[in-house]
């Protein structure tokens, strides 16, 4: 079925648009295959609002005269559009039928399943070209640039046809002394084939952060010699490594009943296991839903607000993510030990913790380029299933399937770090907000699909533009810079005391007056810094 067949009414005149904190506007509404376009032409000045249909999370319609008087004069309907970037819009559409047509088109077109029908495959801006390499870096390039890896580590192409681990990229970094056969056997022993691979090597002490999925020890405590050797090769003679298991000990025990498990002390003698409980999947998604609900209810008292904020548990997730990342850094940076991080599947909390740890301890990942490279390496190439996790956001009434705002949680944690160390990151909150928007609905192909294999099959790299590349264009990059950036080589240890963690107002109160004043403050900071730079 062609996309255009979903559109029964393409144009409606005299539509009234209501946005928070803006006067109502009248204009023309237009539905295309991928966009909702509202334009208001008044006098000379025209104003347009273009919304990607994919950005629409939920749509509510209320139609007057629904029964009895079809086509009655003056009948109209109101559509409330709730976007994945948390914006809420209201459209008053004259004509009931038009209203229903528009609503059903939006419903159909905002939930396309096929990747190649999505907008990034049609987005062709004149200033970008599809030629040239896609993305910022590859595993091989990263390896080549990271001299400290050359001695003990190698790039393995054992997964070049994605048969060993469907969710890993074609190339991964592993200990030099472990051959591909061992990797294949280790992969069979790990859920989804996600055998331990290198995530980060400390820039001065050479200790590493590895990540994987859980071992498949099962109820009868199976072992895998190769997996044990692989981990032994990681610590290479040093006396100790830490396994940070992102489940409680009890959960890890229970996982054995369903074929999963954990690294037992007797088999992995030089590894010490620490359990840290992290919520996952549905629980985190519901947190987001509750938080957004609490933020949009303006009527309640302070007590009710605090109770709703507490009840959402969102900040508790932020708290645990930052604490565990801090723990990882403490092991690597302070105590000089290597760490293996995993939960069950190794595609969500594992990536969250390993990437946060890098922000805390690695100065290179705190630059704009460094941060985007980190996201590319640790989230996109590492196989975070974006398409499943970000299918819906906080407003959707659809039954939850695989949704989970792991990536948004990462951005929130990074924001907390930035708030505590306003000079340490080269990028600003604007970058985080842009990413929070793009991950749910984008013109670019970066966040499409669930892993490299799918991206290859769909031809994402050949047929879409890369978000990160476009963000690094000099004229665009400037808006994402932190005017106060002053690089430091030290680890930036975030405080994880609850009183140090705050609601990310820039994100969750984005469309309120509150954000307006903050914007003015940001401009003021810029103008002071710019004035200063001119003087210097």
């Amino acid at each position: 079925m062609e996309l255009s067949e979903h559109i029964k009414t393409a144009n409606v005149e005299d539509v009234t648009l209501r946005r928070p904190f803006h006067p109502a506007l009248r204009g023309t509404l237009c539905v295309t295959s991928h966009h909702l376009l509202f334009s208001n032409r008044k006098d000379e000045a025209s104003w347009q609002l273009l919304i990607l249909l994919k950005n629409i999370d939920a749509i509510e319609k209320s139609v007057e005269n629904l029964f009895g008087y079809p086509r009655a004069v003056g009948s109209s309907g109101t559509i409330t559009i709730k976007c994945k970037d948390l914006l809420v819009l209201q459209l008053e559409i004259p004509g009931m039928e038009e209203c229903l047509n528009i609503a059903s088109s939006i419903e159909a077109l905002s939930s396309l399943e096929s990747v190649t029908e999505m907008y990034p495959f049609f987005y062709r801006p004149s200033h970008l070209t599809l030629l040239g390499p896609w993305g910022l870096s590859t595993t091989e390039q990263y390896y080549k640039q990271t001299e400290r890896l050359w001695d003990r580590w190698r790039v393995s192409k054992v997964n070049s046809d994605y048969s060993v681990c469907p969710s890993y990229p074609s190339a991964v970094i592993v200990p030099r002394e472990v051959d591909d056969d061992k990797l294949i056997r280790s992969a069979r022993f790990r859920q989804g084939g996600r055998f331990p691979v290198l995530s980060y090597c400390h820039h001065s002490n050479g200790m590493v952060i590895m990540r994987s999925s859980q071992p498949l020890t099962g109820a009868n405590k199976k072992r895998c010699k190769e997996d044990e050797l692989l981990l032994q090769a990681v610590i290479d003679g040093s006396e100790l490594g830490y396994i940070i298991d992102l489940r409680s000990a009890q959960q890890a025990q229970q996982a054995r009943m369903t074929g999963g498990g954990f690294e037992s002390k007797s088999c992995y003698r030089h590894w010490k296991r620490i359990h840290r409980h992290h919520e996952r999947g549905k629980v985190v998604q519901e947190s987001l839903i509750k938080l957004v609900e609490a933020c949009s209810d303006l009527s309640h008292s302070v007590d009710r607000w605090l109770s709703k904020l507490e009840n959402s548990k969102w900040l508790s997730h932020v708290h645990s993510a930052l604490s565990t990342a801090g723990l990882v850094v403490e092991c690597v940076e302070r105590d000089g030990h290597s760490v293996l991080v995993h939960g069950s599947e190794g595609t969500d909390n594992t990536l969250l913790v390993s990437s946060l740890a890098q922000i805390i301890l690695d100065p290179a990942s705190r630059t704009v380029t460094g941060f985007l490279c980190l996201l590319e390496r640790e989230w996109i190439q590492a196989g975070h299933p974006f398409q499943q996790r970000c299918a819906h956001s906080a407003y959707s009434h659809a039954r939850l399937k695989q949704e989970c705002p792991s990536f948004l949680l990462l951005l929130d944690c990074v924001w907390q770090v930035w708030r505590q160390f306003p000079l340490a990151l080269e990028f600003s909150e604007a970058l985080l907000l842009r990413l929070a928007q793009e991950v749910y609905a984008s013109n670019y192909g970066t966040f499409l699909c669930n892993n490299e294999q799918e991206r290859c099959a769909a031809g994402v790299k050949e047929n879409t533009h890369c978000l990160f590349q476009s963000m690094l264009k000099p004229d665009i990059e400037e808006q994402y810079l932190n005017p106060l950036y002053e690089p430091t080589d030290l680890a930036i240890w975030p405080s994880v005391h609850p009183q140090s963690l705050q609601l990310w107002t820039g994100m969750f109160l984005r469309w309120t007056e509150y954000a307006q004043n903050m914007e003015e403050a940001r401009e003021e900071v810029w103008s002071i810094v710019k004035e200063h730079r001119e003087r210097v």
Partner: protein
């Protein structure tokens, strides 16, 4: 001095966090407790006795006797004293010295910052309330100063000079005063030039169930008429209606709308001082929690009710400001006595209405006017003397917090910064300066404070660079006109800089404000240098000498880096002590704690390690980011005073 049995204790351990502590010597002077670190830096921590809220001794254990000193500015010092006897001595001494019984014992009477008499007198004239009333632009044909309270005959808790409507006759003034608690009749507090509406204040009327006073009714009428454009006025009773009604049984209460023509009565519902005292205590407990979970913290915050009370105070201010600025209607504000909630409501409204009060000098003026002169009972509320604990209440704390909450919402609107508010807060409790001693103007006059003590304001003014918000610009939209804050629940935040004592000592953060201030300062310097060079260049060019041009290119070499780098980094947190955490990891925690000192002790440690340690060592110099400097900022003067 007679209370000090042990002036010096050696090998005392100050516990900064579960992981960090320092050993040093503890000294007790007649005014301060001083802790001097044994380290090379000899870092000193000064704690004023009058700032001590309580001292608690925990049971002696193998390592010594723990002593906890809690301060009125929410700092907490945890000491470990080797000998139990010394600990008991220090405890007894501090307990006595922190609870003076007479005004004469207060620190302000011995504090002597080497100013001559003339300077001291001039300093007391720094804030001039007469000038302030004329700044408001009060029309002389509508309002006048009355001498009715000369020698405090009418009300002993009011200032001697009062602004009243010109149309109010002496009989009306006296009659109205008789009908109000403590004679605190309705008088002008703030005049809004743009609308000619005013804010007046008073105490509750002695109306009981049926009493009335025609003079008081005429007084309100006169106030309303002083605003020629309006047809009615608001009477804002800042108490919850239930409390106001209960007061009627005691012959007090609120205005009967049937007796007063053209008034609209509005209750706001700010709770009384006892509720606020308990609420703050709960909040302090929340701030002190050692390793709470997110839920513990948020639940504790909610349970304290503190932010709800802050919102009520701000709501009162917003209501009044709206009435005055948008409706152009005058407002009479009162509570019971008219010196706590009334002061809060009037001063918050004034800050919202008048950009002047959002400047450093303006806030000083406002506090001097609405709080000091109108008889806010500083000595009672902030327990300057050992007295009735039921009189103590954080009224001023709430006002300062309202300012802070507003600053969060309007980052560019205030000339002063958080540090200024915290400094004010400390000095309201510290008794180091005479400004806040006593409970009313009359008492301060009788104590001859201007002759015997010093004024805080000039001292703060001299150091204003430290208290300036870098984002403040007089021509910014947020500094213009009336502030209209949101009072949605999510706008109210826990004031970490004030109450977060569990965190103060552990972590120190980079401060964007400090960085911006440095940047601004540097810009200014460069500007000056530039203009100096340009001048010079012009002169030289006049003389037609060339070759001097490169001077301007050299400018950048003069630039000192304004931004602190290493020192502002915080130390690692207790990522190990998760609240309600797994019980399966104790062995690990132990392991690491053993490992850490080993690493620290190793001089050939990895370079990052030592870098990192130096980052921690330097923390002291940057710990003041939230105004939480452990060293008393006035210690230099104090040393002189003691010498």
């Amino acid at each position: 001095m007679e209370h000090i049995r042990t002036p010096k204790v050696e090998n005392v351990r100050m516990i900064v966090s579960p992981r960090k502590s320092t050993v040093g010597t503890l000294y007790l002077s007649s005014t301060h407790t001083i802790f001097v670190e044994n380290s090379e830096a000899l870092k000193e921590t000064w704690v004023l006795h009058s700032l001590v809220y309580n001292v608690e001794r925990l049971p002696t254990n193998s390592s010594g006797s723990p002593l906890i000193i809690r301060c009125k500015n929410f700092h907490v010092y945890r000491l470990l004293i080797p000998q139990e006897k010394d600990c008991l001595d220090v405890l007894a001494c501090l307990t006595r010295l922190s609870r003076p019984e007479h005004y004469g014992e207060l620190f302000c009477f011995s504090f002597n910052p080497n100013l001559d008499k003339e300077l001291r007198e001039k300093a007391w004239g720094f804030i001039d309330l007469k000038a302030e009333f004329s700044r408001m632009g009060i029309p002389r044909n509508l309002w006048q100063v009355t001498a009715a309270n000369h020698e405090y005959r009418l009300s002993d808790t009011y200032p001697s000079e009062l602004f009243v409507p010109k149309s109010a006759s002496p009989a009306v003034i006296v009659g109205s005063a008789k009908f109000r608690s403590r004679g605190r009749l309705p008088v002008l507090c703030y005049f809004h030039r743009d609308t000619s509406a005013s804010i007046c204040r008073s105490s509750q009327p002695l109306s009981g169930f049926s009493a009335r006073s025609s003079e008081d009714e005429q007084m309100l009428q006169a106030i309303m008429k002083s605003n020629p454009l309006s047809e009615f006025m608001y009477v804002v009773d800042t108490r919850p209606k239930l409390n106001a009604m209960a007061n009627r049984a005691a012959g007090k209460g609120y205005e009967n709308e049937d007796n007063y023509t053209n008034i609209k009565l509005q209750f706001i519902g700010i709770e009384n001082i006892h509720v606020m005292r308990n609420s703050q205590q709960k909040l302090i407990d929340v701030g002190e929690l050692a390793a709470p979970s997110m839920s513990d913290f948020l639940w504790g915050l909610e349970n304290s009710g503190w932010l709800k009370h802050i919102k009520a105070v701000l709501d009162a201010g917003v209501f009044i400001a709206k009435a005055v600025a948008e409706e152009g209607v005058s407002v009479l504000v009162h509570c019971s006595d008219g010196w706590d909630r009334t002061a809060q409501a009037c001063s918050v409204a004034s800050v919202l209405l008048d950009p002047y009060y959002r400047t450093i000098k303006g806030l000083m003026v406002l506090i001097e006017k609405d709080w000091v002169s109108f008889g806010h009972k500083f000595s009672h509320r902030y327990a300057h003397l050992d007295g009735d604990p039921k009189e103590v209440s954080p009224v001023m704390d709430q006002f300062l917090e309202c300012m802070w909450q507003l600053m969060q919402q309007f980052p560019c609107a205030f000339e002063f910064n958080e540090r200024f508010l915290i400094q004010l807060h400390t000095h309201i409790y510290s008794c180091q300066y005479g400004n806040f001693i006593g409970n009313c103007q009359k008492e301060r006059r009788d104590l001859r404070l201007q002759e015997r003590t010093h004024s805080l304001w000039p001292h703060l003014w001299e150091n204003r660079a430290e208290y300036t918000n870098p984002l403040y610009r007089t021509d910014h939209s947020q500094t213009q006109g009336v502030l209209k804050p949101l009072t949605t629940a999510y706008c109210f935040k826990f004031w970490k800089g004030m109450y977060g004592c569990a965190e103060k000592s552990v972590a120190s953060y980079q401060s964007s404000a400090d960085c911006l201030n440095a940047v601004r300062e540097e810009s200014q310097q460069l500007e000056e240098e530039l203009s100096a060079h340009q001048e010079r260049l012009a002169q030289l060019e006049e003389r037609k000498t060339s070759g001097e041009r490169k001077k301007t290119n050299k400018l950048s070499e003069h630039v000192r880096r304004p931004i602190p780098t290493e020192s502002e980094l915080s130390s690692p947190q207790d990522y190990f002590t998760t609240p309600r955490s797994e019980k399966n990891t104790p062995s690990f925690t132990l392991q690491l704690q053993l490992a850490t000192p080993h690493k620290n002790g190793d001089p050939d440690d990895l370079s990052t390690g030592s870098d990192f340690e130096s980052g921690v060592a330097d923390l002291s110099s940057y710990s003041s980011s939230g105004g939480d400097d452990t060293k008393d900022p006035d210690s230099d003067e104090v040393v002189k005073a003691n010498a």
